[in-house]
């Protein structure tokens, strides 16, 4: 298998007046797993279909493995795709489904079947050759779909929300298997999802999309800890959005005043004055009322087993916090002091062009 790079150069896709992808450029390095993450209708699936060749761009160039494939149709691209619905052919058995791509590209049937069995073994699905797709469980169908895509040894493998039809437990297992497979076979994988946790779990890099454009691109940790704008901050996990006042101290750090509290945070080259601040729920710790200058009143407490979710009234606004369940949780209508773990608090640049998309 020869993993290939993918490059988008100023790609635009329009359907009539509707712009589905607006001047997008990015590169996917060979052998990496990149996730396209975003709310529905943000253009992430269109980008996946552009890579597959199921759509051709209105403008711009697409390169796979360094070769310009802008006008090449899906059947001629060395790209396979696992569909959200799996799209298994209902009139063919498991083996016929998996060998299909080999047979239509001229491989002898016997060879094709041998390789199809190998692929089925790779995804851990031996002995189901003659079943029809309708006789398999959801997870098994998913594996067949993966095997069918893998058997062609594509230089790029695409996943379109592959886990959305599975239940929560199976979803975690399958996403780990996909990641394992990708690492083991050193595949270039592009993965589309709207689930931020799933994206964080499987990706080398994440491209966050919003309104037909790339909002931010980076490693999962970068995006979580240094979101480029309020949209990304809100989309990459929960975030409380408050306003603080920034005063720079040196090249990297500044003082951010949040009500009565001042935190020392990276200023990210923002100018002095009011700034948006994102506070992760798990960065807020509830302590004794006397131990902190910031007082909060517990408005709501929801017990979730291992965790407790609090809604707090504070001088800097209403905050949402998550803590490990303690022996004595803070009761509703009692006061508590607040502490902030600086790693979970970040100043956020204003959204370009004043967009304000809710996550």
């Amino acid at each position: 298998m020869k993993a290939a790079s993918i490059e988008f150069r100023q790609v635009v896709k329009r359907y009539g007046d509707v712009v589905a992808v607006r001047g997008v450029s990015f590169t996917v390095a060979p052998g990496t797993l990149v996730t396209l993450l975003g709310p529905s209708g943000c253009g992430k699936t269109t980008i996946l279909r552009l890579i597959a060749g199921l759509e051709l761009p209105t403008e711009g160039r697409i390169l796979i493995g360094g070769e310009d494939v802008t006008e090449v149709g899906a059947a001629d691209r060395d790209v396979s795709m696992v569909f959200q619905s799996y799209a298994l052919f209902p009139h063919m058995s498991v083996l016929e489904n998996v060998r299909y791509g080999l047979v239509v590209s001229g491989t002898k049937v016997a060879d094709a079947e041998a390789r199809a069995r190998e692929a089925l073994a790779t995804v851990g699905l031996t002995g189901y050759d003659d079943r029809l797709p309708s006789e398999l469980s959801g997870g098994q169908q998913q594996r067949v779909a993966v095997a069918r895509a893998l058997v062609l040894e594509p230089s790029v493998l695409l996943f379109d929300e592959p886990l959305s039809n599975l239940d929560a437990r199976l979803r975690r297992q399958m996403r780990e298997e996909i990641r394992d497979l990708q690492q083991r076979l050193k595949l270039t994988v592009v993965y589309v999802t709207h689930d931020q946790a799933e994206a964080m779990a499987v990706s080398d890099r994440i491209i966050v999309m919003n309104r037909a454009e790339i909002a931010q691109e980076g490693a999962p940790r970068d995006l979580y800890e240094r979101p480029g704008d309020r949209f990304v901050a809100g989309f990459m996990g929960d975030a409380n959005r408050v306003t603080g006042t920034l005063k720079r101290r040196d090249d990297t750090l500044g003082d951010v005043a949040l009500g009565p509290l001042t935190l020392r945070l990276p200023h990210r080259n923002l100018p002095d004055g009011p700034v948006d601040v994102a506070i992760r729920p798990e960065a807020i710790a509830l302590v004794d009322a006397a131990a902190s200058p910031v007082r909060a009143t517990v408005k709501k407490a929801v017990y979730l087993g291992g965790l407790v979710e609090y809604t707090l009234d504070t001088p800097i606004g209403e905050l949402f916090a998550v803590s490990l369940a303690a022996a004595r949780p803070h009761a509703v209508a009692t006061d508590a002091g607040l502490e902030f773990a600086p790693r979970g608090v970040v100043v956020v640049p204003p959204d370009p062009s004043g967009r304000d998309a809710a996550p």
Partner: protein
Amino acid sequence: MSDTVSDTVGGVRDRALRVWLAVGAAGFLLAPWYALPDSILSTGWLTLWLSKENAPAWWQAWAWQRPWLWLVGGLLLACALAAGGLRDRRQRANALAATGAAGFAGTLAQGFAIGPRGWTADWLGALFGPLAGGQYGMGAGAALVLAAFAMIFALGLAARGAFRGDAFVACSVVAVTALVGLFTFYPVTTILASAFEDAGSTFSPSAFAGRMFTSKIWGLGCLGGGTRCGVAWNTLILALSCAVACTALGLAFALIATRTTFRFKRLLRVMSVLPIITPPFVIGLGLILLFGRSGVVNHLLEAAFGITPTRWIYGYPGVLLAQVFAFTPIAFLVLIGVVEGVAPSMEEAAQTLRANRWTTFTTVSLPLMRPGLANAFLISFIESIADFGNPIVLGGNFGVLSTEIFFSVVGAQLDQGRAATLGILLLGFALAAFFVQRAALGRRAYTSMSGKGDSGLPAPLPDALRRVCYAVVMPWVALTVVIYAMALAGGFVETWGRNFTPTLRHYVKAFGLEWGPSGLIWAGAAWNSFWTTVRLSAIAAPLTAALGILAAWLITRQRFVGRSAFEFGTMLSFAVPGTVIGVSYILAFNVPPIEITGTAVILVACNVFRNMPVGVRAGMAAMAQVDASLDEASTTLGARGFTTLRSVLLPLLRPAVVAALVYSFVRAMTTVSAVIFLVSADYEWATTYIINRVVNGDYGVAIAYSSVLIVLMIVVIALIQKLVGERRLGRRTAGEVRGGAAQFGSAA
């Protein structure tokens, strides 16, 4: 268009390109360029290959003073140079598309510009100088070259990235467009043009006005009680009364079938199939045998009461009666779906709100059925104005547009301009009704069923209404049975009305077989037209189904510029009445460059393109059931359009394919209105043969022949139903056709 390893050079599928270039070369260098008097399949032309009639294009240009054909050769050469000479992908694609388009247009243009006596228009001669010779209709060579140019154009488009780069899709779209253009748009434009031409073939709106606004068309004499009304009014009055009667009867039938405990509901369903398998004039024949001057009823009346037989059945009453018999089942089919679609819970809600049965029916059920009623009305209206078989058999002096068109062409008048004018009028009526129907259905509102189950029970009909329905439907059913019985029995007696001695004479005359010295002799008079009809219908049916399914696939599964125009084009012939198609085919295809009247080709083409819309509809409905991600999965696995269609979609669509096949075969076998203009001594159609027998008063053979056709249709349908039915009982159910997602539901 093979699916083996991609042999792309510069982005164009080279193997397909080479094949089409070879086809073009063969068309230019080998095949006879002009149409031969005999079939190309009879190999006589090979012996005189380079003669003036049989020579291929290059020899015609070189030796027979037709130098304009060098233009065609030059354009072919340009295609080859573009294919072989250019390395840059984009340049090559553009060059192929451009030379292909130029070649197609150029070849057609020389055909239209140069006729048997040189230039077809004076300004062309003034522009290019006089010509030494002329040319006749295009033949096999020209067809091959045109096909090659069109496909090279399509391959160039695909290489430019159109149609998502799929060569098969590109070629299909271009091919279907070219064929629909040739066999639907070109004839219809020709009829428009010739309506505006005077006797000398020059453009003349006054000639059109003179023909259009005469009292023979628009006269209102019948209102004054004197002479007859114009044919336009006749047609409209007939169509309106027929539509009203069919809709009312259809509703009565539908209500009885769904809202009563009527015990013979299956019989109603069977009756609804009858008009599809019956040649359209059979009911007319049955009516003549029953109510005609020497019909059974008149005989009884004369014997019992001494009433002198009259000819009342010939004219408006008879035609109307026959049409209502013929088209009520169609209205019933439309309405039964609508009546079943009215949600029982609505009616139950009305009843819980203190409405009695009658109020419920008039305030809830009937208004909910309104779109269906409008649809049934318009369909009956369209069927009535397009009907040819019943008016020709029963019309007498009551002329309608479709028969007047026929008599303008075949009668002593032979006035093509008048035929074209009447054709335009009829086409206008049909298109108007068609668009009103589309618009009415566009707002199709309330009857659509929701996904939720409705456990309610349909409200029983109010007693009075139920009695009315029974009172109308029962005699009607009885009469239908009697008419069909008459039509079948008539073939077994000597002379209907005069001599009721049983005989097989008519069957022997029509379908006699004899043993001669050299074996079996098809001695019967009907065999010739019978086998022609069966053979040509059997050729047309698979072509119709293939084109229809292909077009449906392109419309539902591909996105390309002009797709809605493409859809309109494939559907257009559905709205054009058969007589108009017949006349327009004569006008368009009786003169070079495309001269195919009197051949089998024109009969096959006529049937294919008239019935194609039904194939398209069937295909579209079936494809809506198959999730599009199945196609895309196949494509990303390396299958091109053709492989996807063949190995993924067609297996899932088999019932729709079979239905399209059956329907197009049956329709071709029973059609009258268009083919009656197109038959020739060599190629006679069963139905036109029967009509000629009826017109000559030879009812015995006509009835015998009709009976044979009906029985044959029933056998064919039953056979196919059995085959399709068995497949449905297989291990898969319809619900599985949606990929794995079916069980889980898919989040968009």
